[in-house]
């Protein structure tokens, strides 16, 4: 009877195959085609006419989460040039000012950059119904944000997802490591405690 042994170089071969596969599949699987995205009806005549996400998004500066696109960078570098209005008399307001939030919490301080947000949005989209214009007047809550309120109106829906903690909590407190060793992303399928 033969003894079943996996010698070391076989193991290396397996690991190499695994890595090669990871690398090759990444590109192909980043962009789910419309007929497999879970919401489009594969029998709809639209499938043959609508632009596939990969055709538009794979050309833009890549990200590691959400849409897999760095939208602000794509805009700043001119990869895309989205119109700011469709009516000639519309006022465009870009405001360049950072606000520091979460000054007393345990997580790193939040730096909210107005400029990047007003490249996309107008003041009235957030002020004053989501956030009061006066700094410190709005009480923030991660629970509300996770429920789709406050920052969560966009983040977690169309802008980078809420699992990217340190993109907002980006300013270390005195004596705090630049990036605390917290999980970067909550594992998919995780169930919150009852």
């Amino acid at each position: 009877m033969r003894v079943f042994i996996f010698p070391a170089d076989s193991l290396r071969a397996a690991i190499a195959a695994c890595l090669i596969c990871l690398g090759s599949v990444t590109l192909a699987e980043d962009w789910t085609p419309l007929n497999k995205d879970g919401i489009h009806d594969p029998r709809s005549p639209a499938i043959k006419q609508l632009q596939e996400p990969a055709a538009a998004l794979s050309k833009l500066i890549p990200d590691t989460a959400g849409n897999m696109v760095r939208w602000v960078q794509a805009l700043e570098k001119g990869e895309i040039n989205p119109r700011a209005s469709i009516r000639p008399d519309t006022k465009i307001r870009v405001y360049d000012s950072d606000v520091l939030l979460n000054l007393k919490g345990g997580m790193p301080i939040v730096r909210f950059p107005h400029r990047q947000h007003t490249l996309w949005l107008d003041c009235v989209n957030c002020h004053d119904h989501l956030f009061k214009a006066e700094t410190g007047a709005t009480k923030f809550s991660m629970l509300k944000i996770l429920e789709g309120e406050q920052c969560g109106v966009c983040h977690g829906a169309v802008s980078f997802p809420l699992t990217e903690c340190f993109r907002c909590h980006s300013v270390a407190r005195p004596g705090q490591a630049p990036k605390p060793s917290l999980p970067i992303a909550i594992p998919a399928g995780a169930v919150p405690p009852k």
């Binding site: 042994i5 195959a17 599949v25 639209a46 989205p82 119109r83 949005l121």
Partner: protein, 136 residues
Amino acid sequence: MFRKYLWQRLLLAVIGLAIGSTVQIDEARAEYGDIVINNYSDAAGMRPAIFPHWFHRVRFRCKVCHADLGFKFKAGGNEINMVKIIDGQYCGACHNGELAWSVENCNLCHSAKPGTSTQVHESTVQKLAPATLQKK
């Protein structure tokens, strides 16, 4: 020496490829944040409408629709219907045959699987929390 463990190597390589491909499909897939709107579609015998944010934000900044045209940040919360669109409100501000294709192309928007509920598809909350915990 090489031939001796050939079949073990092949077996491990196949296992490796299988593990590699399944892991990656789950980890690095783009979430589009598409909006499904099914306020009236199912009842009218149409496929629900899908609004792809990614397609529109390549061409327009968020403010064009959410500030200038008055779209609320709420999937299904705008009470859009075809009369309003044909009247030039909401989608009809662009989808009028001038800026973008017009309303005759029903199927291009109404392209979801029948019965798909109004939602932000692949939102963080949708991915992390069971459906029963999500706000309607």
